[in-house]
Subunit: 632 residues, 2 copies
């Protein structure tokens, strides 16, 4: 079998619906992030994070796991049953990095690892090094635990990325053979079976999109249909953990293992986009509201519980015990982007604002300034006496025994440009106000839309239409975030106000320049009264950036947990984007409970707040996003 | 070997130091709880809870686990590796119940099970049905997991209780043989080894107290000394979980698995009482402050984390995710009682007040009104959409796969009377103001001190000295809780004020009656400002009773999570001991985060609050102890 090279329309598209959707994505290379923080992050991702991940694949034994299956290594199998997916995610990251930058740095490595995977693949199409090398008798026998289809899903995604980015289809051949085996075994003619960890669903839909073969979509649909009917042996973790507690169409609340729920939702959204299944669409609209209206951390993170890595109940959002797995934010990015493309009930502006919140806060905080150390859990508060836990250390680690997060960050950052804009009939939509060059889709004209801005450090956004020919009536839709008191785009033809859908509408006039001046005055944010963990507290935000107070900025004798915010005092923006916030120091007796809070509130003084995404880059120690509001 | 019958001085004493301690305990039968809630609870424990536990030992397979080892059953082993301890705890409960009530109801059952355990015991002294019947190759090979010494500890405690309560020493013979085996293997001449779950330490010290054999105390000391030096293979749970993270003398913060930490502390306290080791005493004083000044729930519960069943960081006390295992409260009762006897730095009044808080709230809430259903986890808040978890269901269960809690409740309630009073040179100390008859210790006189009261339902406490002879200068020390605005005991000789140690001093005058009128005005309690989970909220307390608001008392359309307390309004006591609290209903938009809390606070009206200990006795549903305080 030899896979066809993807059609030009699919080139370098992370998600590429065949069905008609209102919003159509732009390829990774069509949007170039230049001169802003996202562009710089992508550079660092390409030069530091991806090479670091490649080294860790060797150091952690992932590559040896493959080699030993074909007698090329004598090492013991290392890592979890799903460790193969680390390699596939890094291949996907490399693919998008090639699409973005055109680099050839990784070509030889790619040749090696793709050939290695091909050698390990059994004639049947099966490839899963833990099963093959450790427990062959468990092949397809314990689907709740073995992650076989999860691993297959990442293989498919890596292969599609590589094909779309480079045109090379050798890995796609491997991936299709595995997918064909799955179809043979679990398809309409096969047995009923689903994976304990959703992920294959999205991959299969994208494989349908890439190959045009309907049976991959049918298999994804079948897996969605089979879920929630007790096919898995769930044990003491319960069915919620495995997303097998309720049929997908009836499952309207985000519950159980957060990453599994959110990957599943991305896949379900892919399925309903291609099949038009309205019952799945309704379930996903309800799920999206559940996850984002009642269960999302301010940073754009998900999962309140360490036990079972799970969503909490509605409004259960403790800052200190936020599990907030990096992969959950990434899974939500994938899902929310698909909801935007699918024109879900949440609305494009809300989806785009969520993506902005996630990228600039939860996702950005998961990587250190060097690009080589990572958080797995992303709490919004670290206490003085917190001791490191396996997945929730006091400071970022260079790798984890369960290394799902770092390669997931690498593949996500490499494709960030794809989330910036979409095209609809007659309009280019600017969802993210990043410094960028955007190639105008041919249907709208010929040329480039250039966004020049230091946003989010500065509120001025200039949009230059560097195009000579533009199709008649074509417009630019510019998202204007709702926190900005100024909400119009100024152009040569006057002012264009934000419309009800959250976007201003600007004519795509060749040569024109438009200017948006966002109001980046720092603001205090409070939470819904049912969020017990945040009662009586406020967070400082500026534009899309969530701030925190870190011990390193406090005088030696002051503890982060003894600071109260003066609510009506002005917040000053300092050089470098940090803030000066007026606070008082609380002093209290040792009594844990009593008739009186017995807290003395000292004199007002300035405390420095830094972007949450940058915490932990100095000495590790206490931090908090939400600050008590001073009672006087 | 035949164990001596315990000396009369040890009869029916749950904890019985040999070393001189300021406070000396009174035996279970010397204090009779009559006419009050604790007495009624003991009755229910004897007639409902203990028989229920006995039935469950059969139903859950615990007894079959023993029978199958000696070929008397063909059943598979059921339950966890430590399931034998369920039986031993029930035997201990039966023993104290016999001491308390003189019942013969359980005599035949006792004969059966004691003989069964004796048949299962190997000639070496070893008895542990999981090892013997399932994995003999693991005998003493995986001490972190097998709970062999934990199970031995409960066997020893049951045997001592039975000997002290009834004089029968057949189980004590069995227990000593096992203890002797442990001493041979792990004693000074043996290998270094400690159990993954502390418990044996206290049991060995009590075995020394019962038998007078110093080697049991030495073995307990040795196990305390060996802990915290990395003897256990801890895996991903980390050394904290197993209490092996730090030498006991250097471990000043309560961390890791809460039940293990608190059982360990009870054992360490037993050791320093008998050895006089000042470094252990210092560590225990610091531990007690850590657990009670920074990590205790208002209900007297411990353990903020479901993950690892662990203590949280300082001030990490979420109501909704309180793990608050029933066994942790019981372990703390055991420890705090020993700290009282040991004259620890916390002070007798504080220890006694802690015991009162624990018994009337966390422990009482763990059993339903019928005495046959139990909570394992005891959260202080249940949300609307909470789904049951294995150890944290929405409502009490009749048993658990890990059934540590129900038998632990049974043995604790059966010995409650032992916590009421102590004797020091020249004084009888009344720590708990329960309706009771207390036999005057011979050193003080001959007769009974009779406490007549409906406390805590009513604040009037009458103390009758029904004695004809009292030793010269003998006094009664009466604890007067610090929440009471009235703090004096009135007698025929005038008024006796609470002294600095928290107790009034009253002469033990034959025939005299003393009256204490406690102020039971309901009060609002708030928490230390560092407790993020409780900021802006207050709890209602009355005397030692913590209250909660439960859905069953609210109008249909009002949610427990939408109620705000009017802080300065009077709280009314209703018939039956419930309260009427003035509240407002909060109504809010759906927005999770925003510039404005956007909560509308409705009209003031009365909401019923019930004792936390009685929640969940109607339809299961939302509950909360801590209520937001209305901003206006």
């Amino acid at each position: 079998m030899s896979s066809p090279v993807p059609a030009p329309a699919q080139r370098a598209l992370p998600a590429s619906p065949i069905a008609e959707t209102r919003h159509r994505p732009l390829p990774v290379p069509a949007v170039r992030l230049v001169g802003g923080p996202l562009g710089a992050w992508q550079e660092r991702n390409g030069t530091a994070t991806i090479p670091h991940c490649i080294k860790q694949l060797e150091a952690s034994g992932v590559l040896d796991n493959f080699r030993r299956v074909v007698g090329e290594s004598t090492a013991e199998h290392r890592g979890f049953v799903f460790a193969d997916s680390d390699l596939y995610k890094v291949i996907e990251a490399v693919a998008w990095e090639i699409a973005r930058s055109g680099t050839h740095t990784f070509d030889a490595w790619l040749d090696d690892v793709v050939a290695l995977v091909a050698r390990v693949q059994e004639p049947s199409g099966y490839v899963h090094t833990w099963i093959q090398g450790v427990a062959p008798e468990k092949k397809f026998a314990e689907l709740e635990w073995t992650h076989e289809m999860y691993v297959a899903g990442h293989l498919v995604q890596a292969a599609i990325a590589l094909a779309r980015a480079t045109g090379r289809t050798d890995l796609l051949d491997v991936a299709r053979r595995f997918a064909d085996l799955l179809d043979e075994r679990f398809g309409p003619e096969g047995v009923d079976g689903i994976c304990g960890h959703p992920e294959i669903e999205s991959a299969l839909v994208e494989l349908f999109r890439t190959t045009g073969e309907r049976r991959y979509l049918d298999l994804a649909s079948r897996m969605v249909d089979l879920r929630g009917h007790g096919l898995l042996t769930v044990g003491s973790l319960g069915a919620h953990y495995f997303q097998d507690h309720r049929p997908v169409r009836e499952s309207t609340a985000a519950v159980g293992h957060a990453v599994r729920q959110l990957y599943l939702n991305a896949g379900v959204t892919d399925v309903f986009v291609e099949t038009g299944d309205a019952s799945l669409r309704r379930a996903m609209d309800a799920q999206w509201s559940s996850a984002h209206d009642r269960k999302m951390y301010l940073s754009g993170a998900f999962g309140s519980r360490h036990r079972d890595e799970a969503f909490g109940d509605d409004y259960e959002l403790p800052s200190d015990r936020a599990y907030a797995e990096t992969c959950a934010t990434i899974a939500d990015l994938l899902w929310t982007w698909r909801m935007l493309l699918a024109d879900g009930a949440g609305g494009a502006a809300r989806y785009a604002a969520t993506i902005e919140r996630e990228v600039h806060n939860a996702l950005a905080a998961a990587v250190d300034a060097s690009g080589t150390r990572f958080f797995y859990a992303n709490p919004l508060q670290l206490r003085h006496d917190h001791h490191s836990e396996e997945n929730a250390p006091r400071e970022r680690a260079s790798w984890y025994p369960c290394a799902c997060c770092p390669p997931n960050i690498a593949r996500t950052v490499a494709q960030l440009s794809a989330y910036v804009a979409t095209v609809t009939d007659g309009a280019l939509w600017l969802h993210q106000l990043a410094a960028a060059e955007i190639d105008l889709p041919a249907e709208l004209g010929a040329g480039t839309v250039r966004v020049v801005t230091a946003y989010p450090a500065d509120g001025r956004v200039e949009i230059h239409v560097d195009a000579e020919v533009v199709s008649s009536g074509a417009a630019l839709r510019v998202r204007i975030p709702e926190w900005s008191s100024r909400s119009s785009v100024l152009g040569p033809d006057g002012s264009h106000e934000r419309e009800d859908d959250g976007y201003a509408r600007v004519p795509l006039t060749p040569g024109a320049t438009y200017v948006l001046e966002l109001d980046l005055t720092p603001r205090l944010t409070t939470a819904h009264h049912r969020v017990d963990a945040l009662r009586g507290a406020a967070a400082v935000e500026r534009g899309p950036i969530v701030y925190c107070v870190e011990h390193a900025d406090l005088a030696h004798e002051i503890d982060v947990d003894d600071i109260a915010l003066v609510p009506d005092a002005p917040i000053t923006v300092r050089e470098g984007g940090t803030l000066a916030v007026r606070c008082r120091v609380i002093r209290a007796a040792d009594q844990l409970y009593g008739a009186d809070p017995s807290a003395e509130v000292g004199d007002e003084h300035a405390v420095i707040a830094i972007p949450f995404s940058t915490w932990g880059n100095r000495a590790p120690g206490p931090m908090r996003v939400w600050l008590p509001v001073s009672p006087r």
